[in-house]
Symmetry: C2
């Protein structure tokens, strides 16, 4: 049986409602799809929405995505960007049976409202329930002391030799911000891959046992961090997080998640929800205003619990005015 390539589209659809970043998930029926030798109690897992391209009707991939998202969930997507194409062998356990290599083109989409529009069991889930170690808004999460640090220690000890040991120590210190290293909120994917490699992700064990039937002879049961997802969807989600957190700095994507008029505190809370870190209020205000990203509306929000806050709106013109903020290369002699 000659294996063929088949293709799916996945969407990471993000909304922020009251300080909580959420993603749209569906329930994935994991029934037949697992090789023999795996454990019997298969919970139905969360999965990212997915659909197919209509090769003859969808003029572009993005339009195809918008179409099936609309059909499946009733959602009309706003901002959409392509994320990455995932194609590792065995990313889908059904591949071997079907004789098909299943690739997935993943997209990131940002929407304003988070109505839990019903069909196919679509639900909005807080993304930090999949990545509990990523939310530092209330300080360093407990899992670092309780789970990650001890797991890291034993993972380092179990390295085959000194070189590997040093490499594991270096990597975990940098990515997890241990041993004095600063926390870099953008490295979501790197951290997930470390978590996976260390055996702290449920899907790691699942993937291993699906590959070699009957080889589920894992030594110790490690605690599992966060909820897992179907297939490689947690990896896709981690890729999306990295992308959003990185992009915030140089493209005004936050505004895709905010209502048309908003207070500066609302803006701040949404940014904080996304990057998982607290910001300095006065400086954020100064930055946002001096970059002319927002403009006054003259109206005020009074239900703030304190002095009323002015409502602002996004100045679309900056997309034209400020091509790319913060160049970062040295001389850049201005040849005009």
């Amino acid at each position: 049986m000659k294996p063929r390539v088949s293709l799916g589209l996945n969407a990471v659809i993000v909304a922020v409602t009251r300080e909580a970043p959420r993603i749209l998930t569906i329930r994935h029926d994991a029934s037949a799809a697992v090789a023999p030798g795996a454990k019997g109690d298969l919970p139905r897992e969360d999965a990212l929405p997915s659909g197919l391209l209509h090769p003859d009707r969808d003029r572009t991939l993005e339009l195809g995505l918008r179409r099936w998202v609309r059909e499946q969930t009733g959602l009309e997507l706003g901002y959409v960007e392509q994320l990455y194409t995932f194609g590792d062998l065995d990313r889908n356990p059904e591949e071997r049976e079907m004789g098909q290599r299943v690739l997935s083109i993943a997209y990131l989409a940002l929407v304003r409202e988070a109505r839990p529009s019903g069909t196919r069991g679509a639900t909005w889930r807080d993304w930090y329930s999949f990545f509990p170690w990523e939310d530092w808004r209330e300080g360093r999460p407990d899992v670092f002391l309780k789970v990650i640090r001890p797991a890291v220690e034993s993972w380092i000890r179990s390295a085959p030799d000194g070189a590997h040991r040093r490499e594991r120590r270096e990597r975990s210190e940098i990515y997890f911000g241990l041993g004095g290293a600063p926390w870099d909120f953008e490295r979501v994917l790197d951290r997930y891959e470390l978590i996976y490699e260390m055996g702290l992700a449920a899907e790691a064990e699942r993937d291993r046992s699906a590959g070699q039937p009957g080889s589920s002879t894992t030594a110790r049961r490690l605690p599992q961090l966060g909820e897992s997802m179907a297939l490689d969807h947690r990896r896709i989600l981690a890729t999306a997080l990295s992308r959003i957190r990185g992009k915030l700095k140089y493209r005004p994507v936050v505004f895709e998640l905010l209502p048309t008029s908003f207070t500066l505190l609302q803006l701040q809370r949404v940014v904080e929800a996304l990057v998982g870190v607290r910001l300095h209020k006065q400086n954020l205000r100064r930055l946002v205003e001096s970059a002319r990203l927002v403009e006054h509306t003259g109206r005020y929000e009074t239900r703030t619990g304190g002095r009323p806050a002015e409502l602002f709106r996004f100045r679309r013109e900056v997309l034209r005015e400020r091509p790319a903020p913060g160049v970062g290369l040295p001389g850049l002699r201005h040849l005009g």
Copy 2:
């Protein structure tokens, strides 16, 4: 005939030899592939190398890419990253005849040496021959006065109404750095798309006539800017340029293109070749040294034509030390 999806991999392979950034191209035989009604004299066009995934043997997409690049050209790729997946309808004119939608996953690869390794007519070509408007190292290129500005003017005038006219003016001023706007070297893709839209790219006309046979009733022949490529390969190339130019700022990818030891001027020339702009020598040196991106070797290059220059090497350790330079978000309160 039910159309199916088929998949190819494309590689933008970049090297820099003596101040010239080059990409590896092959000759694409455009023979049967064009709809009737197109002109008869079909030159064979340059194309990006492309190959197929072996669905059952290539464990990852990237490994598949490395395999066929090795097989086709003998090149062993170093740095490789996924660029984008292109899937617009009719990006390949043969699609309709084959009843297949042809997608392409494009990769960016950086290599050190530019040996023109023979098979399949692989040649290294200066990338600025495809984008002559992108090289500002000797000041603003002539094409701006001779071609772009007049074409922009008439393109703006021919807009259907005032709103479109203003939108066209704004867009062309920002992207081309006209009317006082600064030149943003990263917006390569935006500029290419504008060039295409304005009818200054040969492939625009070709794509139109392939779509509607017999409709090649273009009014005036506009001058064509730069050499075109097969299919949508010039668009892929523009995407790659944007990516490289953007990435230089926050990832040390230049060093993938340099020999293991190099002088700081060599480094500067490579960066300048990539971004197409001159840099301030003393500041680049300071930046690179204070960021501890390089380390002394103690050896000197004497054939500089002046005072000998010390040879440096890349400090791989920075990949570990400095997670992401220049955070750019305001408060970022350090919660440790």
